[in-house]
Symmetry: C2
Subunit: 298 residues, 2 copies
């Protein structure tokens, strides 16, 4: 069995790193990519699909169980029975209405904490859920520990190169994202010719890009076609164990439709589910695609 070379922690953590990994799966294409990467690394895994969110075709490709949102007790009990000591949370679970959540006893005991978490942004909500899972006996680990290859690497990834102008727009967008760090909002922004066009809220990146495409059609965005960048980056202080920014081929296609010059993401902390298809898509649309180093972020 091949183990990742990086040490996760002390001797106990290293031992935990040899147990099967519990992958708690929401929707989207990332759970499949993560499961494949973990599987390739040789580590056994058990999928825990969240009812209504996880894709059965993905979850059921491996040893798996289904859990409802709020069934933290059941999740942890099943995971421990499978020999798991570590878990990751991956995939989308849109902020659910409270009425849709089915609570089991360990979760009900944590209700005051969950309500506190619900009052904040998504990051706080996930931190709250992770804390409850950890207290129940499963360590939540980061994706960088179990599937480092699903992160965007540093450098220019497709054919087109960013210009000096593009680089200045990237720096400005990174600064906007950094300024919003304390507010648990905005892992993405669009800047063209030094002008901040959009900041992402709960609508998500694709909706933000669609807005720019529409306003360009209406001449409400007058920056020349082929100028402007989409930048995605985790908020400063973002807990790297969950809610990391992610891109896929549709991000690149939507950026092209919005008339942008390219897409920049923070290397090592932005997920990409299908890197080859992302690069092919950037080349087809002739837009640039770069991983920028976090150290270079202002």
């Amino acid at each position: 069995m091949t183990l990742p070379e990086r040490k996760i922690g002390g001797p106990e953590a290293s031992e935990a790193g040899q147990t099967p990994l519990a992958i708690v799966c929401g929707g989207g294409s990332f759970p499949a990519a993560v499961a494949e990467a973990v599987s390739r690394s040789g580590r056994p895994l058990v999928m825990f699909g969240i009812n209504g969110w996880a894709d059965p075709n993905v979850a059921e490709r491996y040893s798996h169980h289904w859990v409802a949102l709020g069934q933290v007790g059941r999740l942890v009990r099943l995971a421990r029975l499978e020999g798991c000591r570590q878990a990751i949370l991956i995939g989308t679970v849109l902020r659910p209405p409270l009425t849709k959540i089915r609570l089991d006893w360990p979760t009900i005991r944590a209700v005051p904490r969950i309500l506190r978490a619900f009052r904040g942004g998504d990051d706080q909500l996930l931190k709250g859920v992770a804390g409850i899972i950890e207290d129940a006996g499963l360590q939540i680990v980061g994706l960088d520990q179990v599937a480092p290859e699903i992160f965007v690497p540093e450098g220019v990834l497709a054919r087109r190169q960013p210009t000096e102008r593009d680089k200045a727009d990237i720096a400005r967008a990174l600064a906007v994202i950094a300024a919003l760090g304390p507010f648990d909002v905005g892992q993405a922004a669009i800047v063209a010719d030094n002008h901040v066009l959009a900041v992402e809220g709960v609508e998500g990146t694709d909706n933000m890009l669609a807005r720019i495409a529409e306003m360009r059609g209406q001449r409400r965005v007058t920056a020349r076609l082929g100028t402007g960048v989409l930048v995605k980056s985790p908020k400063p202080g973002q807990d790297r164990r969950f809610d990391l920014p992610a891109i896929g081929p549709h991000t690149v296609e939507n950026a092209a439709r919005a008339g942008l010059a390219g897409v920049a993401v923070t290397a090592g902390s932005t997920l990409v589910a299908d890197p080859m298809e992302v690069i092919a898509s950037a080349n087809r649309s002739d837009i640039f695609m770069v991983g920028v180093s976090e150290a270079a972020s202002p």
Copy 2:
């Protein structure tokens, strides 16, 4: 002739304050409200409608001229002939494509400055234009000097009162707007239950509210109906002579459609074209409407 009691500056400025006011008019309903307020104050005025933007029914109600965007030389020459020494810029002129601008000689000499201004946000663009007009011989004054009654006053303006929860959301939205100050973007944000839902970019307030209404319909915003606030406030360091945030009855109606509890704006620096209709609209929709003091902003 009744003069405003507030002193504008030294003796020269006070003398200039007695000359007819040049009102450079873009689109929207504010030029009419400003012209009425100035007229009520007893000061003579001359309207300079911007071709394609100003409403002829408003401009032609007073002494008036028409100017094209970029004809700063013609504007200043005509204003001086009318005896004007001071001007205000009011109304919307969406960031125009460079090709739509007709330049006259004084403007052409300022082209490098205009291009520099074009590379920044809207605020920088307006500062650039104002600087060119001032260099050509017209002082740009603030609306607070000539029509103070078109600003939202402090306090609760309609029937409904904001709750403690609403006040906390207002404080958070003001903090988001303050954090974005350096970037010349975002004079508005929406926060519900401490969760930042949206930050305004170039799309404008109505589009931002429409987005929240739509996401509420799709259950992507799960905050209870009747929670959440829209907050509008000038960016810190905003030049108070132009581009101040503005609200009207449609802002209140759109906030109600987005399921919000209310609207808060900075007192004394947010324009309202039709205050009675704004209050009536808030009462009809049962949402609160408050002017918050800038001193209270975090």
